[in-house]
């Protein structure tokens, strides 16, 4: 797009001839006699920050002064590279010219950067290409986000790792790192730690299959400022939890764990209750978010003892039995989302959860069944603490006490606001 080229290529050394001429003939006076060209840079900056990039680029072509403002470092602290190919995405990509200019003129201004790539390997490669050029960058935040299929995983591992380590080594002040679904491995985590252990506060690395429990343990041992961690269950160990609860460590704020089954009948290890207790002692307010993507018969090791889960999501069908155990062993539960259960009512299980999970404020039920009376009872017991109640209409089974038309009034009454179940078109 030409406008980017124009915007970026305008010289900053002295006015051009035509600009001088324009200045003499036509001062940019508004009706109050104020010359727009004299608007202070700080105000321009403020205004420019509200403009989307495209509008800013247009504005930058108005005059030299505005062009200079367009290139002020403050406007280039944050950038999101959108890398899409027409063959694999409907959305537009960041213009290659713009990318070139950013690397040339602004790479040392960049502090908060993310890459959004579509499902094509080309896009992931383009991201790596940019990453390898960020040698002058002192990034605080880096996010690698795949918006469809995880294309970073399709790259040759070494290619990806070498690009990523450019940032790890050069930034030395990385605070937040989001590298889910990438081929990052233990050695590269060591490099991360070696250079950024003082500053790292957030690390999101769910579904990074090349990392081992030892690799993540290294991070926990060295990065004592780590407040947020997201990883897969296979990386979780008692040692990790203890490391995160060590005296040198700050309070952990969020721990997110994805429990994903690759093949039916997969076996999962257990975490000792004492490890969870240590975590709680060290970080009493921490949030434990767990996403379960397991087959019904793989829940054996889970919910046998008390576990400090606050946000719980079941992405596949989960049995009544497991939900019953949740009621018993998750006293800190704040949000529960059940994708599917099956065709036996969850009456008892819900009531137990209402009783024992006194912090519960959000619940979502998908393909489950609950009798209307039990549901009303559940809502009555939870009362107004339920700020999110998302129940599919099909979940509620009318019984002798309530039918569907009556239930929403009952529930609304106990919630203190008007409530309806979620609906799906029945066309």
């Amino acid at each position: 797009m030409k406008k980017y080229e124009d915007a970026c290529s305008s010289s900053s050394e002295g006015p051009t001839e035509s600009c001088k001429k324009v200045r003499k003939l036509q001062p940019n006076l508004c009706e109050f006699g104020f010359d727009w060209a004299l608007l202070p840079q700080e105000i321009l900056l403020n205004i420019f920050q509200f403009l989307p990039l495209l509008d800013r680029a247009y504005a930058s072509q108005v005059c030299r002064g505005w062009n200079q403002a367009f290139h002020m470092p403050e406007l280039w602290r944050c950038f999101e590279f959108e890398l899409n190919q027409p063959a694999s995405s409907y959305l537009k990509a960041t213009h290659p010219e713009l990318i070139k200019q950013i690397i040339k003129r602004h790479s040392n201004h960049l502090q908060y950067v993310s890459f959004k790539v579509d499902s094509s390997t080309e896009s992931a490669e383009a991201a790596c290409d940019i990453l390898s050029q960020l040698v002058n960058c002192s990034l605080k935040t880096l996010g690698l986000i795949s918006t469809a299929r995880p294309s970073f995983m399709e790259l040759p591992k070494s290619h990806f790792i070498s690009a990523l380590t450019v940032v790890f080594v050069n930034s030395k002040s990385l605070s937040s790192l989001k590298i889910d679904d990438t081929p990052v491995d233990d050695p590269s985590l060591k490099v991360l730690v070696a250079n950024n252990s003082d500053t790292l506060r957030m690390l999101k690395m769910s579904s990074c299959p090349h990392v081992s429990p030892a690799g993540i343990l290294c991070v926990a041992d060295q990065c004592h400022g780590l407040r947020e961690l997201a990883l897969n269950y296979h990386l979780l160990s008692d040692e990790l939890l203890l490391a995160l609860s060590s005296e040198k460590h700050v309070h952990l704020e969020h721990l997110r764990i994805d429990v994903v089954s690759e093949n039916p009948g997969q076996h999962f290890h257990t975490i000792r209750k004492s490890s969870w207790d240590a975590m709680l002692r060290h970080s009493p307010k921490f949030n434990l978010v767990m996403y379960f993507f397991l087959y019904e018969d793989e829940f054996g090791p889970f919910f046998r003892e008390e576990v400090p889960i606050t946000h719980l999501y079941f992405g596949r069908s989960v049995s009544k039995d497991v939900l019953g155990r949740v009621g018993v062993h998750c006293p800190r539960l704040v949000e529960l989302v059940v994708c599917a259960n099956g065709l036996r009512p969850l009456d008892e299980e819900l009531i137990r959860i209402a009783k024992r999970c006194t912090q519960l404020s959000a619940i979502g039920l998908g393909e489950c069944e609950v009798s209307c009376s039990a549901f009303v009872e559940f809502v009555k017991m939870c009362g107004r603490r339920l700020s999110q109640l998302s129940i599919m209409e099909e979940v509620l089974i009318p019984d002798h006490k309530y039918n569907l038309d009556e239930i929403h009034w009952e529930v609304s009454k106990h919630l203190g606001r008007v409530w309806f179940p979620d609906m799906m078109p029945t066309w």
Binding site: C78, L91, A148, E262, F293, I363, Q388, V418
Partner: protein, 587 residues
């Protein structure tokens, strides 16, 4: 010729009222107020259906829908014959055809049923202009929807309601649905006659599928035969069954519900063979009779109201069937993958539940609404992460009751692209099917290749031991495809994607999944006030005139001209980087 005909019956000095009734939808003689109105005072009537000659070949309409339409037209022709009239099927485009007809037939009046869809409104505006240029009076009546949709929009402060709940609340404050118009009988026709030439069949007959260029060899008989006669018969059956069951609750889903029912009405409502208002009133009468109760709940009309809702949301939005530039649609980075799309469309995904549904759809033209949810979820936010627009196009081709508004609206809904839908629950392509039809009979019926699999494995045959596969004479990977995705992995990824998108939309900084979906500003959180005052109050507040009720969150569509989703959406990054938690929202 027409001149002789007219001269015989009317003295030359008298003005002759020649009327044309233009059938588009509304392919019926019952509850057809525009037709009824135009007959009144007319001397001649000609009912026309205009068939766009390019339509058959290039448009996205499959053979089942063409067949259904042609059967509707045949049925109309038959019914008109009983009134000494005929149907005139004319090939061409309306803007070319009408000036010619106005001239040839000395038309004084043109009537048609109101079409609320944006394309229809545009086409009709052009025809109205041509009509006024030719001195032809135009009579238009609403009869394809229960209500005048513009009135519903007016009640909502000039905007289409964005949630079904809101829509229901508005409906409960509308005036009663207008009664269906009387059926056209010989008495209604009175002196109005139709000039029928000897060569009518050559010029104006309903074409056959072969004439339209379709290959009909091997085509099975229609499971859903088209036409008003069939529609009315089904209506009676439908009501009989309801009366017999004496239960007006939502029926529990079972394996049988998946199969085409002889009381199913949706294709007939779409083409207008059955009047929605007739259905509405008959349902109401039956309810009052059986329940001895005078006020039926809104849920009784569920099917009709959903249809009405989508018509209402679509009527003022020409981009309703697109993601880009559609003010009510979330911009989601769907994957472009024609190969995967083809597998889904052709029933080759390797998931028997999905494939059986798509097979039934292709063969018969109708699938149960829960089956639609299953395949729509699988294509979009559940597994394949492919754009809902692609799915919509496939349904447009194959589904008999998919008209523009309802099809686009349903797809946006099912892919969680609009209407403030929670996206957390995902229909499992194995589990959902298994729970609906534990025995697997539905699979066996539509995928005979899997017939011999035991119920235990028929929904996930790839997990069956080799011996079972061999015994079933169907080896997965050879006779039937392997599953095209790993469902667990796909749903894990996709829930992340949807969460990412919605967190940006609502600028939500917390950890909960449910709160990421922004609350609809005109929906009061989870519900809506139901008194007329409350509704008006909200409507006024939305219009930004009431300083006591500022917008609930930034980007309320009713305060700014630009759409809520585009202002806070993916494109408008302002250089911000979102990291989905409290620490990292960097501004």
């Amino acid at each position: 010729s027409d001149q002789n005909f007219l001269a015989r019956y009317w003295p030359a000095s008298e003005m002759v009222g020649n009327t044309i009734h233009w059938f588009r939808k509304g392919l019926r003689l019952h509850d057809n107020p525009s037709l009824k109105e135009s007959i009144r005072g007319a001397d001649t009537l000609r009912c026309v259906y205009i068939l766009d000659p390019w339509f058959a070949g290039s448009s996205n309409v499959g053979i089942s829908r063409w067949r259904f339409l042609l059967q509707c037209l045949e049925d109309l022709d038959t019914s008109l014959r009983k009134l000494n009239s005929r149907l005139f099927v004319i090939r061409g485009q309306p803007t070319d055809v009408f000036p010619r007809l106005f001239q040839e037939w000395q038309t004084s009046q043109l009537s048609y049923e109101y079409d609320s869809e944006p394309f229809g409104k545009e086409r009709d505006a052009a025809i109205q202009k041509l009509a006024s240029e030719a001195g032809v009076e135009v009579t238009v009546k609403v009869s394809h929807t229960l209500y005048d949709l513009d009135k519903i929009i007016e009640l909502n402060g000039g905007q289409s309601p964005l949630t079904y709940k809101r829509f229901q609340a508005l409906i409960s404050h509308m005036d009663a649905v207008e009664s269906p118009a009387e059926i056209i009988t010989a008495e209604v026709m009175r002196k109005c006659a139709t000039p029928i030439s000897d060569d009518h069949d050559d010029k104006f007959a309903v074409p056959s599928l072969e004439e339209l260029g379709f290959e009909t060899e091997g085509l099975a008989t229609a499971v859903w035969p088209g036409g008003e006669t069939e529609a009315l018969t089904r209506l009676e059956r439908h009501l009989e069954r309801k009366a017999w069951v004496a239960n007006f609750e939502r029926p529990r889903m079972n394996a049988n519900s998946l199969l085409a029912s002889p009381t199913g009405l949706s294709p007939y409502l779409r083409f207008g063979c059955l009047s929605c208002r007739l259905f509405y009133f008959k349902l109401t009468d039956l309810y009052r009779k059986v329940k001895k109760n005078s006020s039926p709940p809104l849920s009784l009309y569920g099917q009709l109201l959903w249809r009405e809702f989508f018509y209402t949301t679509a009527t003022n939005n020409p981009r309703f069937d697109k993601m880009e530039g559609n003010p009510v649609c979330v911009q989601i980075p769907w994957d472009r993958n024609p190969e995967a799309l083809a597998k889904w469309a052709e029933g080759r995904t390797g998931f028997p539940w999905i494939d059986a549904i798509m097979t039934q759809l292709r063969q018969e033209g109708w699938i149960h609404h829960l089956a639609r949810h299953a395949v729509a979820c699988f294509l979009t936010r559940g597994d394949l992460w492919i754009s809902w627009e692609e799915g919509m196009k496939v349904f447009e081709e194959l589904l008999l009751d998919a008209d523009w508004s309802v099809n686009a609206g349903s797809w946006m809904w099912l892919s969680c692209s609009s209407f403030f839908q929670q996206f957390f629950h995902c229909y499992c392509p194995v589990g959902f099917g298994r729970r609906t039809d534990p025995n697997g009979d539905y699979i066996r019926r539509y995928l005979p290749i899997l017939k011999a699999f035991p119920a235990k494995y028929i929904f996930d045959p790839w997990n069956a031991p080799e011996s079972v596969q061999k015994a079933a004479k169907c080896v997965i990977g050879m006779h039937y495809p392997k599953p095209m995705v790993h469902h667990t992995e796909a749903s894990r990824l996709n829930i992340q994607r949807m969460t990412q998108i919605y967190q940006q939309l609502s600028c939500y900084r917390g950890l909960g999944l449910l709160a990421t979906v922004p609350a609809n500003p005109n929906n009061g959180g989870n519900g809506v006030g139901t008194s007329p005052e409350e509704i008006q109050h909200e409507a006024v507040a939305q219009a930004g005139k009431d300083p006591l009720h500022p917008p609930r969150f930034l980007g309320c569509p009713y305060h700014s001209k630009t759409c809520i989703f585009q202002r806070v959406g993916l494109k408008d990054m302002l250089g911000h980087v979102f990291f989905f938690n409290q620490i990292e929202l960097v501004l």
